[in-house]
C-alpha cells in the first residue's frame, strides 16, 4: 500500500497525510482529482469504482478499505 499512499500524496498535492483525513478536507479535492483516483484504481489494481463510491468512502482509510474489498 506504499504506492497508494504515495499516489494519494501526489494527487492531493500534499507532502504528508493521515489515513483518517477526509478526502473533502484537501484543497486539491475536486471532480478531476476524484476521476484521477478512479483512473489510478483501474490501472493499478484493475478495479472499477464510480465517482460516487469514492466520495462515499469519505476518508483515505475508507477508500483504502474499499479498494481492498474489491481486489
Amino acid at each position: 500500500m506504499e504506492k497508494y499512499i504515495n499516489t494519494m500524496k501526489e494527487l492531493l498535492e500534499v507532502d504528508d497525510l493521515d489515513l483518517n483525513d477526509e478526502l473533502s478536507s484537501f484543497d486539491a479535492w475536486d471532480s478531476l482529482t476524484n476521476l484521477s483516483v478512479l483512473a489510478f484504481c483501474s490501472s493499478e489494481y484493475g478495479i472499477s469504482l464510480t465517482a460516487d463510491e469514492i466520495e462515499e468512502a469519505k476518508t483515505l482509510k475508507g477508500l483504502k478499505e474499499l479498494i481492498e474489498s474489491r481486489q
Binding site: E10, L11, E13, A28, L32, S36, L38, A39, S42, T50
Partner: protein, 355 residues
C-alpha cells in the same frame, strides 16, 4: 434505425499515421492549468502522445500514400477499385470532393463511384454502410473506404479540452462481396438538435473566416479558442454518450440475437481513455474486450479511430483468426452508429507511417 446487410466482408485495413509525434508533457505550459492538474488530466484522459500532420499536408496525401503502399506491395490493384468512399470533415477543398482528388492522383479508371461523406466520430459505420449498399450493384465488386481527418489544424493549442487529444490519421478499409458472409447488423441514429455541441462555427460558407472569427476568447474553464476553432461542449457530449451508447448496443445485440459474451471485441470510437472506460464500466464489458489504448498512443482522429484501434490491437491476430466485432461511433451531428460484423483472415491489417 436498424440496418441489415448480407454477403459482405472486410478484407483489409491499413492505417496511415502522420510522421510528427507530439508529447502532452511538452504542451502543458500552453494551458491555463497547474502542472499537477495537467498531470491528473493525463492520467484520467490518457493524454500522452499524438500524431499530427506537417503544415501543407492534406488528407489526400495521407490517403494516396496508403493506397500506393497497398498497390506497391501487391495488396490492391488499381483496376479493381470500383468505388472510393471517403469519410472526412477536413477535405482538401470545399470543391471538388477530395475522393475525386485522390482518384486523379492515383490515375484510376473512369468507371469509379467517388463520393465524400461528412461524418465525424460516428463515421466509420457510415462509410462501411455506403460500401455495403454500393456492392449491391452488379458492376461494383471492390469498394475502398477511406476515413481521414486532420483536425489538429483546427483546435486551439490553448484549449486543453480538445488540443491534447486531437490527432490526425487516415485509414483504408477494403470491402468486398462474400457469398458465405454472415448477416451484418447495424444501426444509425441522429439528433440534429445537438448540432452545436461539437462544431467549428466559422470558416465555411455561412460564416466565412474573418478577423473577428479569429479572435481568441476565454471560456469559463479558462480555455482560449476562437470561432475558427473546433468548439466542444464537453459536458453535453459526455452526457450524450452515456445516455445513448449503451442502449444502442443493447438494441443491436438483441436484433442480432446474441449476448455480450458472444462478442469477441467491442471496438468503440476513442474520444479519450476515460470515456471508453466509463462505457465499459456501464455496460459491464471487461477492458480486455474493449480496448481504450488509442488516444495515449496516437490521439483521437475522428472517424479514423476505429480502424486504427483494430489495427493497433489485432493486427497480426486478425490476419489468422476470425472475430465477431461490435463497432460503435458517436460524435458531432449529433450522430451515433454501430455495427456487428465478423472480421477475419484479413489480407492485411497494419499501421504505417506517412513519409
Amino acid at each position: 434505425m436498424n440496418l441489415k446487410f448480407r454477403n459482405k466482408k472486410i478484407t483489409g485495413i491499413l492505417s496511415v499515421m502522420p510522421e510528427n509525434e507530439i508529447q502532452f508533457d511538452d504542451e502543458i505550459e500552453n494551458y491555463n492549468f497547474s502542472r499537477q492538474q495537467s498531470m491528473k488530466l493525463k492520467l484520467v484522459m490518457g493524454f500522452d502522445k499524438r500524431r499530427v500532420v506537417s503544415k501543407g499536408t492534406g488528407i489526400s496525401d495521407l490517403c494516396v500514400f496508403g493506397l500506393n503502399y497497398l498497390i506497391d506491395h501487391g495488396l490492391l490493384k488499381k483496376e479493381e477499385i470500383d468505388a472510393l468512399v471517403l469519410v472526412t470533415q477536413s477535405p482538401d477543398y470545399f470543391m471538388p470532393a477530395t475522393s475525386h482528388i485522390i482518384h486523379g492522383k492515383l490515375g484510376l479508371k473512369h468507371d469509379v463511384y467517388c463520393t465524400d461523406i461528412s461524418q465525424g466520430c460516428a463515421g466509420y459505420s457510415f462509410g462501411l454502410n455506403k460500401a455495403f449498399m454500393l456492392l449491391e450493384q452488379e458492376e461494383i465488386n471492390k469498394v475502398v473506404v477511406l476515413n481521414a481527418d486532420i483536425l489538429s489544424t483546427k483546435v486551439s493549442h490553448k484549449d486543453r479540452s480538445s488540443a491534447p487529444l486531437t490527432g490526425d490519421a487516415a485509414a483504408i478499409t477494403i470491402v468486398e462481396n462474400d457469398p458465405e458472409g454472415e448477416v451484418i447488423y447495424g444501426s444509425v441514429k441522429a439528433d440534429g438538435s445537438g448540432s452545436d455541441a461539437l462544431i467549428i462555427p466559422a470558416g465555411a460558407f455561412k460564416m466565412p473566416s474573418s478577423e473577428e472569427t479569429g479572435v481568441l476568447e476565454v471560456d469559463k474553464s479558462g480555455n482560449e479558442k476562437s470561432m475558427d476553432h473546433f468548439n466542444m461542449k464537453g459536458d453535453e457530449v459526455f452526457n450524450f454518450v452515456q445516455r445513448e451508447v449503451p442502449p444502442m448496443i443493447e438494441n443491436l445485440l438483441a436484433k442480432a440475437g446474441v449476448s455480450k459474451d458472444d462478442v469477441d471485441f467491442f471496438m468503440f470510437h476513442q474520444p479519450n481513455k476515460f470515456m471508453v472506460q466509463q462505457l465499459s464500466r456501464m455496460m459491464e464489458i471487461p477492458e480486455s474486450k474493449m480496448p481504450n489504448n488509442l488516444v495515449e498512443n496516437f490521439g483521437n482522429a475522428n472517424s479514423v479511430t476505429i480502424p486504427n484501434l483494430i489495427a493497433h490491437n489485432l493486427s497480426d491476430r486478425i490476419k489468422e483468426e476470425s472475430f465477431r466485432i461490435c463497432v460503435a461511433g458517436f460524435g458531432n451531428g449529433l450522430s451515433w452508429s454501430s455495427l456487428l460484423i465478423s472480421m477475419g483472415q484479413l489480407d492485411f491489417c497494419e499501421i504505417i507511417d506517412y513519409k
